[in-house]
């Protein structure tokens, strides 16, 4: 996942993160003290997107707000030839529930056409492209905890090989409204709030107007190699004197974080999950929100693992 990755730098030109309170800016971020209440997004869609998306699903709303906000934060019009990569762990949870109840016994056996169309997992990426007028590559990656990181990696690789000059990369997931419903799909510890959100980055090969850099997405095949891999990666990525902050993902245990801070004494920890809750693509929120939080320039490394024990490191540099 990292071979040949340093041939061409990939820059971050804009970022946007939408959290579970409808928060889209630093001043609106709030720490979660338990599961977030249901989130109504119709008004925010109108405000940010400029039109009502009457038939759109909640997941599409999350994606539309985040992606449009990101595009609008660019200081130039987004080119039509911008590829879209969307990572989502669970995709259309609520619409899938809806059509399941409509069709399966004791339901009537017929699906609502709109619910059925919106239950397609790539509809959020479609709306992202349509609202942004982007006619280019469009991929939806659904790989549990690594959905966003894979989206980021594929986008960066396409930029580095010159296939595209610009990419819009997002991670979006919705919760299931009740904790019980959420836990049917994603295992969480009792102390982990469920969450939802939408995080987006515009990546470009152009250095001008960059606010950051995507340094690398690195796959660590075996969990036992994690600490050593992290140490080696940091050695390669960190510039002399550069502050280093770790963003632990939802599968990193508190004890591991303690161990990491002991192993790497100057390491700072940023607990972004306290703001967005726990969902598969939360890394997107955590990374995108760096650009609207009061952070000093430095290297930020997101760390997560999946159910098979593989780990992924994702490093970005904030200018």
């Amino acid at each position: 996942m990292h071979k040949n990755s340093h041939s061409r730098p990939v820059y971050i030109h804009a970022a946007a993160a939408l959290g579970p309170h409808g928060d889209i800016a630093r001043a609106e971020r709030r720490t979660l003290h338990g599961d977030p209440p249901p989130l109504e997004l119709k008004e925010l869609v109108k405000t940010v997107v400029g039109v009502s998306l009457r038939q759109a699903s909640h997941l599409v709303e999350l994606a539309a707000i985040g992606s449009q906000l990101c595009i609008k934060r660019l200081s130039y019009p987004v080119p039509e030839n911008t590829a879209v990569y969307l990572g989502t762990g669970l995709a259309e949870v609520r619409k899938n529930d809806a059509v399941f109840r409509q069709v399966m016994p004791p339901g009537p056996g017929l699906a609502s056409p709109f619910d059925f169309i919106n239950a397609a997992n790539n509809m959020a990426a479609f709306y992202t492209a349509k609202l942004g007028n982007l006619r280019a590559r469009n991929l939806t990656i659904t790989q549990e905890e690594f959905s966003f990181e894979w989206a980021l990696h594929l986008a960066a690789a396409d930029l580095r090989t010159g296939e595209y000059r610009q990419a819009l990369v997002g991670g979006v997931d919705e919760n299931s409204l009740s904790r019980v419903g959420h836990l049917r799909r994603i295992a969480l510890r009792d102390d982990q709030p469920m969450g939802e959100g939408s995080g987006w980055l515009v990546l470009s090969v152009a250095a001008e107007q960059a606010v950051g850099e995507l340094v690398e997405v690195k796959h660590v095949a075996r969990d036992t190699e994690l600490f050593e891999a992290l140490r080696a990666a940091l050695h390669a990525w960190q510039q002399p004197g550069e502050p280093l902050t770790l963003l632990p993902g939802l599968r990193i245990e508190p004890a591991e974080i303690v161990r990491l801070t002991r192993t790497l004494p100057n390491l700072r920890i940023q607990d972004y999950l306290a703001f967005c809750g726990c969902f598969h693509s939360a890394a997107a929120f955590g990374i995108a929100a760096l650009f609207d939080m009061p952070v000093a320039p430095g290297l930020f490394v997101h760390l997560n693992r999946d159910a098979s024990g593989h780990a992924l490191l994702c490093a970005v540099r904030v200018f």
């Binding site: 397609a120 006619r135 991929l139």
Partner: protein
Amino acid sequence: MPAIHIRGLGLISSYGRGVACAVEGMRAGRTGITPLTLFSLPFQNQILVNQFDHTSFPPGAACATATMVAVAQEALSEARLDADALRDAALVVGTSSFLFAGEADFWRTLADTGETDMPPLTPPGQAALRVAGQLGIEGPVLTLTTACSSSANALLVAAALLRRGEVRRALVIGVEGLSAIALSGFHSLMLLDPEGCRPFDAGRRGMQIGEAVGAVLIESSDAAGGGDRLLGGANLCDTHHMTSATPDGSAMRSVMEMALADAGLQPADVAVIKAHGTGSLDNDTAEAAAMRALFGDDLPPFTGIKRYLGHTLGACGAVELAAFLGCLRAGFVPPAAGFTKPDSALRIKPLTEFRSAPKGVAMLNFFGFGGNYASLLIAHV
């Protein structure tokens, strides 16, 4: 840039287990249409489907992983590789929503206990991890869900991993089971043809849904020769509408042009086309317009194979590649079963008779909901 060799294929379809089984059925001119017996629907008698024999697989959601492992083993067998060859490989899966697996668990629970509780739905990424675990794959694992282009895009992503040197070998699997929800949804949208798929036919009225699992094992190599190769391909989003194509076919034409450019080819290099050919009114109209615009008077022979296999949605990229390439290897191009009467508005006509397989470049097109399009170019040698 290293060549991407297609080392092995695997298929479970309504014809049975194995690519050869499907190829023989298609060579005999049999369509794989079967009655719907997996579950009941209010409109069950108004549709035709393609369903495979589930008796040799475990019930419920486990069927999906078992079939994925089975097609992988067939692909490995053709490549004369043992399972250890996959240790460092990538697994890239393409599917739609994977609801069919949750439905399968639901039907099983209903039969066993009479309960109708909604089961915990299996996210597709979770199934991919299970399959990787069973096959001993320790390389990258990812799942693409881009509707009907999912597994074609999975192949493109896997090929990119190979070209960049991230892995040397990749297993691509397209998987789709029959889903009451999908059938009901397409029925609600009036997109199912009660007479089955009739691609590009004047009387076409929609799709014929099928279930199948396909595998394509690819490998990068600097060596010349080595059999069939993936030359290139492209993916593009047509933002015209959620469920229908830009009517003039311009977006479909664009993705075919992008695929040709990626492979360094010209339209004249294409010897045969496997069209997406769903049999739906709008999709076939746009696809015909796209082919006319790109190839003009030199349109190569083209066919559609969804009458044989059904429209296997997210799996159709891998499934149709396996079946179509299987036919080419067996020396023939199958006619577009279901086509009988030309549509004067389309001004093109698919193959109506068997044709000898040409050596050269085959184009395979896949156009899905959400405007997600993929075009692949294969060198058949």
